[in-house]
């Protein structure tokens, strides 16, 4: 049975990141301190997250006292399994990315570093807030702060083209945020003071149509960040950002905040039963399916590495949305785990793409010929990441795909596994040519500078984690258990949550 303990512990990961942001800003004249602060904060955030995970795994939920905000709405954090899963992932990958960022800014001699690192920290604080939000209002605040804090990062290069992309990015995410704002206000009106409740709290709170509209508002709100079709255009546009930003924020923090939000909304605001009753699950699943297919096809036609990765992200995020829509325990567990799985694999891909860019200045797939011999480790990482995306077994993507597929079958939706495998094939179709061209096609690699080992280490670390997760998804942070616990709390299912032979 779950038990709640009131403590201020969940505030600490957020506080750490915020403190780091201020520290970095203050230390803007002392370059060394910036990274020190970042590493300290990232390490500390990870440490506190890992310190809280055992409680969560034992069924103890850490809750902060509620800070009053407005009547019927307070700010509160609650370290439930789903939140801990996201928090641990984000802080772990923050640490990995920090190493990379430090090397990246030095290699490229980037400007505005203090702003860069402090905005990064604020983004992570916001992500932690989103992860641990106990109610829609807290979630919304984190969501909006994340939007704003990532803007400077996206437009870091400051050129007109970049600024235009940044405007698109912000227009989408801010407008989405406003709709989420409306939805949160509405939910607060229907059920004042309601926290995220496993299984939803809106049952019977309003008429069917009103609830459907509310759901649409919620979904457009969080779905913008989750890049559900047709709200996805900002994500490829945001690829103008420096690679560490694309890697962490647009593979993990921002987009996952959206996907995580979709899970929260479907599982903790509406609940699978209500969604089913209102026919929302079908609608959402259809949107997810369309996104998965469209984005995969779109990725095929993209020659720019990072943009192809972005479309892949669009497609993969909808796996999570799909799981949330299906709403069976297996599917939710698969979706929750996919947050983690996709995080590790996609960050590997992004970081590898970044190394390629740093070492050769090349950003297009067709230019990669002959590079395989010069950067073998990078393309090893890239290949493994791509295979993982396609759901090849022994990589974590398989685990989420399997559970999603099984969950779909359990819900009598045979098209779910078909869709997932179709997407898997498309994944191979757009990832492996990159490796093929680099490793097997002849070509002039041009001038290749030797990338710093600190640039190479993070992708290797990430893919190593992914490989471990693929065979031992519970090792370390207990990601799979967390996903499973989260799913179990939302939907009671008769099905065994793991498919084994015995």
């Amino acid at each position: 049975m779950t038990r709640e303990i009131t403590t201020i512990l969940p505030f600490i990961p957020i506080g750490a990141a915020l403190a780091a942001a201020m520290g970095i800003f203050q230390a803007r004249r002392f370059p060394g301190f910036r990274e020190t602060w970042t590493f300290l904060a990232a390490g500390f955030q990870l440490y506190t997250a890992m310190a809280m995970v055992p409680y969560t795994l034992e069924g103890v939920i850490l809750v902060t006292p509620e800070l009053p905000f407005l009547p019927g709405a307070g700010i509160q954090l609650r370290a439930d399994p789903l939140g801990m899963l996201f928090l641990t992932l984000a802080s772990l990958l923050w640490l990995v990315t920090s190493i990379y960022s430090a090397a990246y800014v030095r290699t490229l001699g980037m400007r505005h570093r203090a702003g860069f690192f402090s905005a990064f920290s604020v983004s992570l604080a916001a992500t932690a807030m989103i992860a641990l939000a106990a109610n829609p209002l807290t979630f919304l605040i984190g969501f909006e702060v994340l939007t704003l804090a990532t803007w400077p990062l996206v437009v870091h290069k400051r050129s007109s083209k970049v600024l235009r992309s940044g405007r698109a990015y912000l227009a989408y995410t801010l407008l989405g945020g406003q709709l989420l704002f409306a939805a949160v206000a509405w939910a607060a009106e229907l059920a004042p003071g309601a926290d995220f409740t496993a299984g939803g709290f809106l049952e019977g709170a309003a008429g069917d149509t009103a609830l459907r509209v509310l759901f649409a508002l919620f979904l457009v709100g969080v779905g913008t960040k989750a890049a559900i079709l047709p709200l996805h255009a900002w994500l490829p546009a945001a690829m103008v950002a420096p690679t560490p930003v694309s890697a962490l924020l647009h593979a993990v923090a921002v987009v996952k905040a959206g996907a995580f939000g979709v899970l929260r909304v479907t599982g903790w605001v509406f609940g699978p039963d209500l969604m089913n009753e209102l026919g929302l699950d079908i609608a959402l699943a259809a949107a997810a399916a369309a996104t998965i297919l469209f984005a995969s096809v779109r990725a095929l036609g993209e020659d720019h590495i990072k943009r192809r990765l972005a479309y892949s992200t669009v497609s993969q995020l909808s796996y999570i949305v799909l799981g949330a829509a299906i709403g069976t325990p297996l599917a939710i567990a698969g979706a929750a785990f996919h947050i983690v799985a996709h995080g590790f694999m996609k960050i590997t891909l992004f970081l590898s793409a970044g190394v390629i860019q740093v070492a050769t200045g090349k950003t297009r797939i067709s230019e990669l010929g002959g590079l395989g011999r010069r950067l073998p480790l990078v393309f090893l990482c890239f290949g493994l990441g791509g295979l993982g995306m396609a759901g090849i077994p022994l990589l974590p993507g398989f685990l989420s795909k399997w559970n999603l597929a099984f969950g779909g079958v359990r819900a009598d939706a045979m098209w779910v596994p078909v869709l997932l495998v179709t997407s898997g094939v498309l994944n191979l179709a757009y990832f492996l040519p990159i490796v093929r061209i680099a490793v097997f096609e002849p070509g002039d690699p041009g001038q290749v500078s030797r990338p710093s080992r600190w640039l190479l280490l993070p992708p290797l670390l990430a893919i190593a984690c992914a490989l471990v997760l693929g065979v031992a998804p519970d090792l370390g942070a207990g990601f799979w258990s967390l996903a499973e616990m989260a799913a179990r709390s939302v939907a009671e299912g008769d099905a065994p949550l793991t498919a084994g032979t015995r």
């Binding site: 095929l300 079958v409 179709a429 492996l432 498919a499 084994g500 032979t501």
Partner: protein
């Protein structure tokens, strides 16, 4: 305890483990420079030998362990799986020996991993493990094909990969559906041949078995692999599928028709093929058809026949591909129309090739005979008379193109005076050993029969069998002798199922991709258009006339509501309130 007895301990008895270790050692040794590129296959040969040894002594039983929340039975040995594991290991050893003179580290590692995956697939005890290695096989085999080194190898490899990914996808769906239906039980065992799980699994497995029209990948990619790569390819992928069919769908009657159709399909296309490795590829399809039909017939004899035929087939087909590879290595040509009269320059290889050709044709005293006649007899005994008839027809066709047409036009026929490079010893040795095995099993069928999964006894050497086979072959030979000119190859390319994704239909995909690309700007235009329109509507409401003069756009300062209008509007508001309240 004899150190070699350790190989009988289950974890170490897994031949795939040794093959994978071989790959690892090769990779490390060549990457660190301990081993020169020229000797890259040496450790592989050693480890493949260990794998053969391990497979020959593999104890039956299961070993499972928990991975990623699944209880995976990664070692499940019974007669059927060990039979396949053994022959896979043997052919790996032979293939490495065959290519030792030219195998680089990349190709060696890919080949070893490919073989390891195949072995692990047949030794898998549950669907998940099976799927894991099934996918691994697809990927590693592509890595092997890509080593073919030609632009066409890379393109064909990519197509191969995608087609296999699609097959794996169908398999995945099938497994998920099956798992759901069985309540999470994933043991690899006989399944009912009905319902969606069956069809998905059939498509998934059938694609690897190259059942038309899912066979396009085979004849597309195998001719583009390197000479050595093709040897591995010919042996492993399709036979793993046969194993899966044997394990899962014995007696599924639809397989009889499919098998017969395959057997004939391959034969007919082989008759008009010019690229001799593609020709051999068509004969893989044809021969696998025998096995598929055997699985469909489903009697113990038929299943034994299918398993035995897979075993034989791997050996003689490897030999045939070795021969084809020898031809390519010696002459640098790969089309029958470019060849002719090289027998005199490379008699040993030619004769060894002919051993393979006779084996595949089912000539008595060669190993094809002892397994093929099992299937034919089983068909007869189980009253699949037409199956038997058509399979015999396929056998005739096999002899016609592999046994007569190919050697005639390549080795004999018109001498074009082609310069022939001498063949290395290891290549010929590998061919000789393989040919020796073909002959050995052809003469001593009991060596093979005792490894078969069922106890059904069978004697191939009855006078009737022998008579029937000899007559068939002679009949076909007579026809060829009379009409070989009409069977002469032409330098053409025949369309086949790969047209579906390479020809006109395949080109549909491109507009789809381009169309998806074009959607972006369109959507962008719609979005900004909608925004502009909304904004204009608002401006029009607040500042009538402003837009018409372009005033707002040109100079925002110039526009202001006339103050008289404010006063007028105030009066209107008063009027409205008066009116509305009084009504």
């Amino acid at each position: 305890m004899n150190p070699l007895d350790w190989l009988a301990i289950p974890p170490l008895a897994h031949p795939g483990l040794w093959l994978a270790l071989g790959a690892l050692v090769t990779a490390i040794a060549t990457a660190t420079g301990v081993l020169g590129r020229r000797a890259a296959s040496a450790p592989g040969i050693l480890f493949a030998a260990l794998a053969v040894f391990a497979a020959s002594r593999a104890p039956s039983g299961s070993v499972d362990f928990r991975v990623a929340r699944f209880d995976l039975v990664w070692y499940h040995a019974d007669d059927l799986s060990v039979l396949f594991a053994l022959v896979f290991s043997i052919v790996t050893l032979l293939g490495l020996l065959y290519g030792a003179h030219r195998l680089g580290p990349g190709e060696t590692v890919a080949a070893l991993l490919y073989a390891a995956s195949a072995v692990a697939t047949v030794l898998a005890g549950d669907w998940i493990t099976f799927f894991v290695f099934w996918e691994a096989m697809a990927i590693t085999s592509v890595a092997l094909i890509w080593q073919g080194g030609l632009p066409e190898s890379r393109r064909a490899g990519m197509r191969y990969l995608l087609v296999h990914a699609a097959g794996g996808a169908a398999l995945f769906v099938g497994i998920a559906l099956h798992a759901s239906a069985s309540g999470g039980v994933l043991d690899l065992g006989r399944l009912a041949a009905t319902g969606p799980p069956f069809w998905f699994l059939l498509v998934g497995v059938g694609l690897n078995a190259a059942i038309p029209p899912l066979h396009g990948w085979l004849t597309d990619a195998y001719p583009e692999a390197s000479t050595t790569g093709a040897v591995f390819c010919s042996a492993l992928t399709t036979k793993t599928a046969v194993y899966a069919l044997l394990r899962v769908f014995p007696g599924a009657e639809i397989l009889v028709s499919l098998g017969v159709a395959m057997a004939l399909y391959g034969v007919v296309f082989a008759v008009i093929e010019n690229d001799f490795r593609r020709l051999l590829g068509y004969h893989i399809i044809s021969q696998v058809g025998f096995m598929v039909a055997g699985v469909g017939i489903g009697t113990e004899l038929a299943l034994n026949g299918a398993a035995a035929h897979a075993y034989s087939h791997i050996l003689y087909k490897a030999l045939l591909f070795m021969g084809a590879g020898a031809l390519i290595e010696a002459t640098g040509r790969r089309r029958l129309t470019d060849l002719g009269g090289v027998f005199r320059s490379m008699p040993v290889a030619a004769i060894l090739y002919l051993v393979g050709a006779l084996s595949i044709s089912g000539a008595p005293l060669f190993n094809g005979f002892i397994s093929k006649s099992m299937t034919l007899s089983a068909a007869g005994e189980a009253h699949f008379y037409f199956a038997e008839l058509f399979l015999s027809l396929a056998a005739v066709g096999t002899f016609l193109s592999v046994g007569l047409k190919l050697p005639w036009f390549a080795f004999f026929g018109k001498d074009r005076g082609i310069a022939v490079r001498p063949l290395p010893v290891n290549l010929l040795a590998a061919m000789a050993i393989t040919a020796g095995l073909c002959l050995l099993y052809g003469v001593r069928p009991d060596l093979l029969y005792r490894m078969l999964p069922f106890a059904a006894s069978y004697d191939p050497f009855t006078a009737g069998h022998l008579a029937s086979n000899v007559q068939l072959l002679v009949g076909a030979a007579v026809l060829f002798a009379l009409g070989f000119r009409r069977l002469a190859p032409t330098p053409t390319r025949n369309l086949d199922a790969d047209w579906i994704y390479r020809g006109r239909p395949g080109r549909i995909a491109r507009p789809l991709v381009t169309g998806a690309r074009a959607l972006g700007p369109v959507a962008q235009a719609v979005r900004s258009g909608a925004l502009t329109a909304a904004n204009r509507a608002i401006v029009r409401l607040a500042a009538p006339g402003a837009l018409a003069t372009g005033a707002v756009r040109r100079d925002p300062f110039s526009f202001r509501t006339p103050i008289g209008r404010t006063v007028l509007l105030a009066a209107m508001v008063v009027g409205w309130l008066l009116l509305a309240s009084r009504l």
